[in-house]
């Protein structure tokens, strides 16, 4: 599955590259938890929108960040994401719903 398939399924807005492989999912707003437990190639659902989200995602090797609850990132964050070749999706759904959809999509 690639990021594009996730977008199709969630019906989200997108910033960035959509061809990266997505192999699993992780949902959390505590950055240290994400760093410790999310795996390479994860789709990460969160309500955090600040610039450190990009740093964490890059560090872990997250394939796509899904910002939930209709939140959006500031331009400087998007700029950083572009620099790190990171993809951000925006969803109006809660992190719970997004996680459910990802699960149905086959991500474990």
């Amino acid at each position: 599955m690639i990021v594009h398939d996730v977008i199709e399924s969630l019906g989200t807005d997108v910033e960035g590259d959509t061809t990266r492989q997505v192999t699993s999912g992780y949902t959390c707003d505590l950055l240290s938890e994400v760093i410790a437990k999310a795996t390479l190639g994860s789709a990460w659902a969160t309500i955090q929108t600040h610039v450190n989200v990009i740093a964490v995602a890059a560090m872990v090797g997250i394939s796509v960040i899904i910002v939930c609850e209709g939140r959006t990132c500031e331009p400087d964050v998007v700029e950083r994401a572009v620099k790190e070749h990171m993809t951000i999706l925006y969803s109006r759904d809660s992190a719970y719903t997004v996680s459910g959809k990802l699960y149905i999509l086959g991500l474990r």
Binding site: L31, I35, A36, L40, N52, V53, A55, V56
Partner: protein, 309 residues
Amino acid sequence: MSLEQSVEALRYLGLFSNLDASSVMSTAVYALHPEDRVAAARLLMREKSISGVPIVDADFRLVGLISVSKIIEALADGRLADSVDSVMTHDVISLHAHDSFETILSSFQRFKFGRFPVVEEDGKLVGMITDTDVLSAIIRSFYSVYVHDQRRTITLGSFSALSKEFENSAGFVYDISCTGLENAGEGSARLKAFLQSKGFSESVVRRASVCAYEAEINVCIHAGGKGSLRAIAHDGEITVRVEDEGPGIENIDLAMKEGWSTATDAIRELGFGAGMGLPNIRRFSDHLVIISGKDKPTKVEMIFLESKE
């Protein structure tokens, strides 16, 4: 390890460098005046279970010391009723209040005495140091050294607690300088790229960079954003050292506990300060040494072994 080597190890590791004579000594000191009787000294030693009594003048300046052996001599000579100054040692070896921990240890080693009076610049007696005081100070101090290693003692005892190589050459050097959390993580991102370029396996690179990230974030959140991130990487081994200029970790045992944090609410709202930083570092590193203390710089050194994958 000989005492001499131990002193050298202490100097090298910077361990106990925060301890000077004034922080090691006992301040509850029993002293006598030169005109007091030897019998009084004998009584005092017996009552208080001490093996030596400092002798001071009216201004509390150290003028001598009377030890158990001197009392025994006086007993044998039938001089218990004489004044203390006729029996005491006059040229006493004393320590100064600001003498370093190494100086204290060296004095014990050199003079083989059981106790040393501690004086201030003007010669006034301010305390005594016995070997028990030294031991207590070391034990107190260990609250500010954390070693995550099954071989805790060996690690500390064999100099490897903080690797020497950093003194001369580190393959990777990054000056941490962040205001707020904007640039936090920049150093560890660069470290990750550096380690990848060195051909290390993906998982060991991940462990090392995740730990470096946590340590870097700690510098940004807790240490005013000023510090350094350095690494040495070769032969399947990555050593990462993160240092800052303080204010230090007051209680490392607490800081190692999951969920314990001193971060502010504003920091927590950003998803930091969950009290997982150091626990994560412990979890992902193969060896970990933290040296810190209240109002001290913090040094975190982590070793990652490719063979542990």
